[in-house]
Symmetry: D3
Subunit: 245 residues, 6 copies
C-alpha cells in the first residue's frame, strides 16, 4: 500500500522529520512518501493561509493518484484541500482533524482540541461540524505557540499539559486531541503524564490517526462517497481512469 | 458608499449584465464597481472549482480595500473566499448565501434553496451551518441546469417554479432562495407566480440581499468581528492601515 | 418609504428621543413616524407585561397598514406582537431582537445579548430560537438597570462595558447586542471602547438594525411568508386589500 | 384540591361540556371549576387570536389564585397565557400542549400532533421547543376542521384516524397527541381503533394530561421555578401573599 | 390500582424504608408493593453494575404483570431495565430519571441533576437524551457519597445544598433533580432551604415523580408505544394475554 | 496483537463462519480468537434479548483481558455490553455499530443503516447518539429477515439492494452500513452493484470496521477514557493489574 503525505506548505523544512515520524507510525506493509508544495504559505494559522495552500495541494493530490498512490493525507490539522480533493480523486483523501475527532468520539464522552493559536479556534469548530461531532467538542484551546516555534519540545509539552488540565477540569474534556500536525511525537508522553496524576485519558496524535485511517480505508476497499463528493466537470475522465485501475 | 462586486471567475462574460443588475438594486447613494479574476474557473459548481477561485478572489478583495471601497461582495452563492477575506480585510466582506439565508430566517419558519446542480447541495448545507441556521433549511434542490446555461431565462423560470413547488409541498419550505447568483432578475416574477396560486411566500435573490446587507453594515459602522476573523500574520499592517483610513 | 415605529408602552415619555434617534439612522428617502399605545405597561421587563402590551400593539400595527405605511417596527427588544401582527398584516413587521441576532450571526461565530434585568433572560433564549440562531447565542447577561432608569447614560455605558467584557472573556462572545431598544445612542461608543483595548468586535444597536432591515425588505419587495403567518379569520379582507394597494 | 380551568374564549358555549369532561377525568379528591373570559376571541386558531385572549386569561388566572385555587389550567392547546401567568402566580399554571408533549416523550420515540388547521402548525413547533422536546416531534398535521365545527364527532374521528395513519406511516410517529382541547372524549376510541389494526400506540388527550399534571404538581408541592419565571414588578406582593397562604 | 416497585439490588436492606416512603407519596386508591432481586449488585453506580441488575429486573417485571399489577417502577435513577421491560410488558414501565427530567422540563428553563458519584454522570446524559430533553440539562453534579452511605441524612442534605448552589450559580440551573432514588425524603426540605435564600426553585424527588406518573398513565389508559417497544420474539403471547386482560 | 471476538449468543452455530471471515479481514500480524457465551439468547433483535446477553458478555470480556488479549470486540450491531465492559477493562472494547457509524461519517454527508427487523430501529438511533453522529443518520431501514434466516445470501443481497436504493433515493443516504454483524461477506458485492448503476457509495461491513478500529487503537496505544468509563467498585484491582501489564 502506497500512502502519499502532502505537506501543504511552500518549503521542505519539516519534510525529513515528518517523513520519519510517519514511517514510524505506519504498518509494516505501508510505503510512505511525502512532498511539499511548489509554492505555498510558510505555515497555516488562518483561513487566509489555508486558502492560499489549497490549489497547490490539489495539484499534489492529483499527482499522487496519477502516480499510483492508494491514498492521500493532507498534513495539516485544518484538513486543507481535503474536501475539494475528494471530489477530484477516486482514491481516499484523509484529513487528520476529521479522523482524530472521530477516533476521540469512540473513546470518550467529550474531547478538547489543543491547537497553536487562537486564530485557529473557529476553524476547529467548523471541522467538528464537518465531521458530524460538534456536540462532542468540549472546547478548543491554544498553547499560543506559532507553528514555526514548535521545535522547542519541552516548551510545547509543558504548555500542552497545562492547557490539557484546564480542558479536563474546566471544560469537561475526557480526551485530548493535539490540534496541529506539527506537534509530532509528544502524544504518548503527554498521555502518560496525565495518567500519572489519575487522569487516564486518551491523547490523540492527528497524523497517526490519519495514517491508520488511510490504511483501514484502503484495506477495506472504501473511499469517499461520490454522492457527497461529485466529480467536478473537466476532470471526470481522470477520476474514471483512476477508478478503473 | 463604494461597493466592489468580485465575480470569482476567470472571464468577463457576465460582467456587464451583473453590473447593470447590481446597479438597479443598489440605493441611490451607492456606487457599484465590478471585477472578475485575472485567472480562475469558468463557473463554480464544486468545492474543487471554488478552491481554485479563492486565491484570485483574495487578491481582488485586498485591491478593493486598498482602492478605498467600503465593502466587498463575493458574487457566487458558494460565498467563495468570504471567510478568509474577512480575516485579511478591515472592511465588511459579504456572502450572498449567508445573507439570503439570514434574511429568509426572518421571514419564514423554514426555507429551501434551489440551486443549479446536485454537486452544489452539500456545500449549501455547510453554508447554512456557517450562517447558524441549518435548522431552518427545509431542503436544497437543483434545477439541473449548469451555470453556463442559465441564460435561457424561460427554461430557468419553469424549472425554478417546478422545484419550488416541490420544496413547498414535499419539504415544507415557507420561503425560497435562488441558489446561484447567476439566476438574476427572476425572483420577483417567481414570487408573483407562487402568490397567484395561493402560495404567498418570499423568493429571495441572493445578490440583491448581499448588496442591501453591505449598505446596512457600512451605514451602521459594523464589520466582521476580529475575534472570529483574526488578522493573518504578514498582512496585519495593511489591515491596520485600512482601519485607520 | 414610510416606516411606522410602534412603542408598545402606555405613555409617550420616550417618543421624542426615540423618534430623533430613528430619523438619524434611517436612509434619506425614509419617512419615520412613531406612536405609543393608547393603553399599556410603563415598561416591558417580563412576559406578563409583554402580554398586556400586545393587543394595543396589534391595533397600532393595523392602523399603520391602513394609513399606508410600508413596514412596522415593534420598538422593544422582546419583539412584542411581531409574530401575531405578521399574521394580520400584508406589509413587513420587524422585530429588533430577531433582526439584530441575524445581523450578529453574519459577523461573528457567537454573540451575547446584554439586557436590562435577569427577568428578561429566558425571553431572549426564546427569541434566539425563533430567529433560528440559538446555537450562536453565547450568553445573555443583564446590567441590572430597569428600563425606566436607562437615562443615566454614563452609568449604562459603564455597566455595558463591564458585562460586555465578561461576555467576551468568560462566555466566548465575538459580538455584543444591546438587549433593550432603550439603550439608544451608545453602541458606537461601546464598540470603540472595546476596540481600543484590542477587542475589535461589532456592537449592535437593535433599533438601528430593525430600521435597516425594514428598508431592505421594502426595497426588495419582500414580506413575511403567508405559509408561516396565515391570515387570521375575520381580517382576511383587510390583508387582501392592503396587498392589492 | 381545587383546580381552575380557564377557557380563553369570550363565550360560554363550551363550558358545560368541558366541565363535565374535566370532572370525569379528575381524581376523586379534586374539585374542578371552570370559567371563560369576560371578553375574548370566539376560538383560537392563530397567534393573533391567542394574543387577544391572553390579557383576559391573566386576569382570570390571578382571580383563581386569589380565590384559593391550587392550580390553573389554560384550556387551549396553544397554552395561551401559561408563561406570563407563571410569572404572576405562585401556584402552578399548566398548559395542555406542554404537558401532553412531555407525556408522549415518556411513551414513544417520536410523536405527532394532529390539530385543527394549518395555521396552528408553526405554533406547535414553538410549543415543542418551549417544552424542550422539539427533537421528538415527528410532524404536525391538521384535520382541516375549524374549532367551532368540532362538534360533529363522527367527522372528527374519521379525520383524526386518517391523519393519524399518515403520521405513523409517513412521518414515523409512534404516538399521537390530539392538538386541540376541543377534541374531547375521542382519544380512547381512536387508540383502540389504531390498536385494532396492529398499531398499538398511545393517543393522548391534552386536557386529561393537564389535569393529571396539575394534581401531580400540587400533591408533590412543586410549582414553576421563580428563576425562570421572575415576578413582574408591581404584583410581587400578591405573589408573596399567595405563597404565604 | 396496584403498583409494583422493583428495587434492582440483590438485598432487601432498603425495602422497608422505601416501601414506607412510596406509600406516603401514593394516592389513597393506590396499592404499593415492593420487591428486590433474587440476585444482583449491592448498589448501582456504574453501567457495569446496572448491566448485572437488568436480567433480574426483567424477571421481576414480568412477574409483576403476571400477578396483575397495573404498572412497574424501576427503583433506581439509572432507570435500569426500563426500556427492555417496556418491550416485554403490556403494562406501563416507569423510570424515575426519565419522569423527573420531563417534570423538570415543565417547570424550568434548565435543570441540574445531583447524583451520588462522578461515575454516574455519563449515564445521566444518556438518560436525558433518551427522555428527549438533553438540551434542558444544565449540568450533572455529584455529592461524592456512595449509595450505601446515603443514610447519614445530615451529611447528604448539606452536600446537596452545596452542589445545588453551584448548579444554580455556575451552571444556570433553574430546577434541581435528586439523582438517586436512595435520596428519599429530603427534597421538600432542600426546596425550602433554597427558597429561604431567595432561590424559589423546584427540587424533584425522582421516585415521587415516578409514582405519580404511574398513576397518571394507568388512570388515563396509556402505556408505552408498541411501535417504539416491539414485543421480543418468544414472549409475544404473554404480552397479548396481558393486553387482553 | 491478539483480538478476542465475543459472539453474545448462547450457541456456537455462527462461530466457524464468523472466525474465518474475521481472520480474512484482519492484518497479517493480528491473531483472532472467537468465543460465544455460556448462556444467552439465540439472536438479538430487541433490547430485551440484548439485556439478557450482557452479563455473559461481560464475563467473556473480563476473561479475554485476563488471558492477555489486546482488545475485545462485541460481535453484534447493537454493541451489547460495550459500554459497561469499557468500565471494567483496561484494554479497548470495540462496538461494530459505533465504529462503522464513525467511519461512515468520514466518507459521506449522511448514511443509512440497513438492519434485520423494525424492532432494532430505535436501538440504532440510540447508538448513533452514543457515537455522537445522530445528525448524520439519514434513516434506519430493515430488510425484514430475522438474524437466524440470514444464511440465504441471495435473498439477503436482493433485499439489501432494494432497501439501499430507497435509502439513497428517498432518505438522502450517501453511504450504507450493514446493520447486523450476521450480514457478513456481502458489503463489497453490494458496493459494486450500486456503483454499476452510477451510485458510487461506500457500503460498510460493521465487523470489518471494528477489527480495523481495534488494530488502530492497539497500535497507537489508545484505549477508552477512564473519565468517561470509571472503574466499577470491586474490580478496580483487576483493571489496575491489566493496565500495569
Amino acid at each position: 500500500m502506497k500512502l502519499r503525505i502532502v505537506v501543504p506548505l511552500g518549503h521542505s523544512r519539516f519534510n525529513q522529520i515528518a517523513l520519519e515520524e510517519c514511517q514510524r507510525i505506519a504498518s509494516s506493509g505501508t510505503e510512505i512518501s511525502l512532498v511539499n508544495l511548489e509554492e505555498g504559505p510558510d505555515s497555516i494559522e488562518s483561513e487566509y493561509e489555508e486558502a492560499l495552500a489549497v490549489p497547490g495541494f490539489l495539484k499534489r493530490a492529483r499527482e499522487a493518484e496519477a502516480q499510483g498512490c492508494d491514498a492521500v493525507i493532507s498534513d495539516c490539522f485544518g484538513d486543507p484541500g481535503v474536501r475539494p480533493a475528494r471530489e477530484a480523486l477516486a482514491i481516499p483523501v484523509i484529513g487528520p482533524a476529521e479522523t482524530s475527532m472521530l477516533l476521540a468520539s469512540a473513546l470518550a464522552q467529550r474531547f478538547s482540541v489543543i491547537t497553536v493559536l487562537p486564530s485557529v479556534v473557529p476553524m476547529i469548530e467548523e471541522l467538528a461540524h464537518h465531521a458530524g461531532v460538534l456536540g462532542k467538542l468540549a472546547s478548543s484551546r491554544a498553547v499560543n505557540i506559532p507553528v514555526l516555534c514548535l521545535e522547542d519540545k519541552d516548551n510545547l509539552k509543558a504548555a500542552l499539559y497545562e492547557e490539557g488540565l484546564l480542558a479536563i477540569r474546566n471544560d469537561g474534556a475526557h480526551a485530548v486531541i493535539l490540534g496541529c500536525t506539527g506537534m509530532m511525537g509528544v502524544a504518548r508522553e503527554l498521555q502518560e503524564k496525565f495518567a500519572a496524576c489519575g487522569l487516564a485519558i486518551p491523547v490523540i496524535d492527528p497524523i497517526a490517526a490519519a495514517i491508520r485511517m488511510a490504511e483501514t480505508l484502503v484495506s477495506l476497499g472504501l473511499t469517499q462517497s461520490r454522492l457527497t463528493y461529485r466529480t467536478p466537470k473537466g476532470i471526470g475522465s481522470a477520476v474514471t481512469q483512476a477508478a478503473r485501475a
